[in-house]
């Protein structure tokens, strides 16, 4: 059994490099260049439509909630607003951070910065953090975004379901950045030229949160903090539930996204909130394909990929026993069968394919 040290500043980082896991030699399904070019093509239309719908719904739910308050009938509207703020914004952070949502670049930037604020993620740190996640997906000691570390701690998962740990971490980093400092792990993957922008962003955000708090006190009302800040806690449950499925229970320290990512068929509402990130193997293997083409990419890749889980429930039924097994044996992982048409798994230096 191998103890796992996920610390980016610990010895596992150097070990990953020394063992050949930090490499561009990841497996990619062969796809004709003309087909790939078509899949990568961007358009403003889908993201513009979805963004108008998203902000429209947020405004509608928040307005209804405020008007109905103080009645408890406002709760469902706050919950709906919260899931858009605390979960849908995560998907917008992700896609716009990749630059693939809109064809027009400034639109990606604007939505990205709004989403970063909602998720309490510094735009520059998380751009580099996510780049590292794509370079070294679930490579222990290298990936700063491992959602479920082994062995799983159930209490941690429960607290993350209501955003407690992420909220505290986000606020802590924001305060430290506002004092003009970067954390040790951030210094491992963020380019120094962006440090000053991080400091400036954190000071602006702190000012916004301070004004929100002052408004709540002055108005003797929960409304300001229910609109800004608290939804990151009470609205993130959807993000966590679908996010854990991305890599949970699967292999680590491998060089094949078919082994460490999961694709799950989901209902249309979840797919709107999640912006089609349920096609997660496809996304990791071909990050330039925008969310609205991932379903098409999935059809192209199907002969080479393990079968997707048919629903969120089915994916959890597969994942939970694996997470439990990893508590006893951290080296355990789900190895899903490939269709006969697929190329063999390309695990890399640690595991046999």
């Amino acid at each position: 059994m191998t103890f796992r040290d996920y610390n980016l500043t610990g010895p596992a980082n150097a070990q990953a490099i020394a063992s050949g896991l930090v490499t561009e030699d990841w497996y990619r399904t062969p796809i004709d260049r003309k087909v790939m070019k078509d899949l990568m093509k961007r358009s403003d239309h889908p993201a513009t439509r979805d963004t108008i719908v998203l902000f429209g719904l947020m405004a509608a739910f928040a307005s209804a909630a405020v008007m109905i308050m103080p009645s408890w009938w406002s709760v469902p509207f706050w919950m709906a607003y919260g899931v858009l703020y605390g979960s849908a914004m995560d998907a917008r952070w992700h896609e716009c951070g990749h630059g693939t949502a809109f064809k027009t670049r400034w639109k990606n930037t604007v939505v990205y910065h709004i989403a970063c604020f909602c998720m309490i993620r510094d735009p520059y740190c998380w751009k580099y953090s996510h780049a590292r996640h794509h370079s070294d997906t679930v490579i222990v000691g290298r990936d700063p975004e491992v959602a479920i570390m082994r062995p799983v701690v159930i209490l941690k998962m429960v607290l993350n379901l209501v955003g407690v740990l992420d909220f505290i971490d986000g606020m802590k980093r924001m305060v430290i950045h506002a004092t003009g400092r970067m954390l040790d792990d951030e210094q491992d993957y963020v380019e120094p030229v962006f440090y000053s922008k991080t400091y400036r962003t954190s000071r602006i955000w702190l000012a916004i949160y301070a004004c929100t708090g002052v408004a709540a006190i002055a108005l003797q009302s929960w409304v300001p903090v229910l609109l800004i800040g608290l939804p990151r806690l009470y609205g993130c449950w959807h993000m966590m539930l679908v996010g854990w499925l991305q890599h949970g229970g699967l292999a680590d320290n491998v060089l094949d996204h078919r082994m460490n990512c999961r694709t799950v068929y989901m209902n249309p509402i979840s797919r709107f909130i999640y912006w089609d990130m349920n096609y997660h193997i496809e996304h990791h293997m071909f990050p330039l394909v925008p969310y609205y083409r991932l379903r098409d990419l999935h059809e192209v890749c199907k002969p080479d990929f393990p079968a997707p889980n048919r629903s969120i429930f089915a994916a959890y039924r597969e994942m939970m026993p694996a997470l439990w097994a990893q508590r006893m044996n951290p080296d355990f992982y789900l190895r899903r069968p490939l269709p006969k048409t697929a190329q063999p798994y390309h695990a890399g230096p640690y595991l046999d394919a």
């Binding site: 790939m36 070019k37 990749h98 630059g99 670049r105 370079s135 071909f286 330039l288």
Partner: protein, 103 residues
């Protein structure tokens, strides 16, 4: 000493597309933009060692397929991070139906 090398045919690259070109120990990309201009730059992203030939060409820019760094193909300048260092560019000319690069 740089010299002019016959890299490819003009028809080897579709409009707004890119191909990989290896010469000696080095790897390059040849890009054709939407106005049929041709460019030659280093073939690896300056952020991490990713082949740009798998990337996306939009007008006269090339986007890295891994982390979406965007470079101006004419000047090699970074337009969008995470890359911070510019790409090296190489003189390119069309002779007949051949693309020649000076590397």
């Amino acid at each position: 000493m740089p010299q002019w090398i016959d890299a490819c045919s003009i028809d080897d690259i579709d409009a707004e597309d890119v191909i990989r070109f290896d010469h000696g120990d080095s790897t390059y990309i040849i890009v054709r933009d939407d106005k049929d201009n041709y460019y030659c730059t280093d073939g690896m992203c300056t952020h991490e060692a990713v082949h740009l030939s798998d990337g996306l060409v939009v007008e006269a820019t090339i986007e890295c397929p891994k982390h979406s760094s965007v470079f101006d193909c004419a000047t090699g300048e970074v337009e969008t991070p995470p890359a911070c260092a510019n790409l090296c560019t190489y003189p390119t000319k069309i002779v007949g139906d051949r693309v020649l690069v000076e590397v």
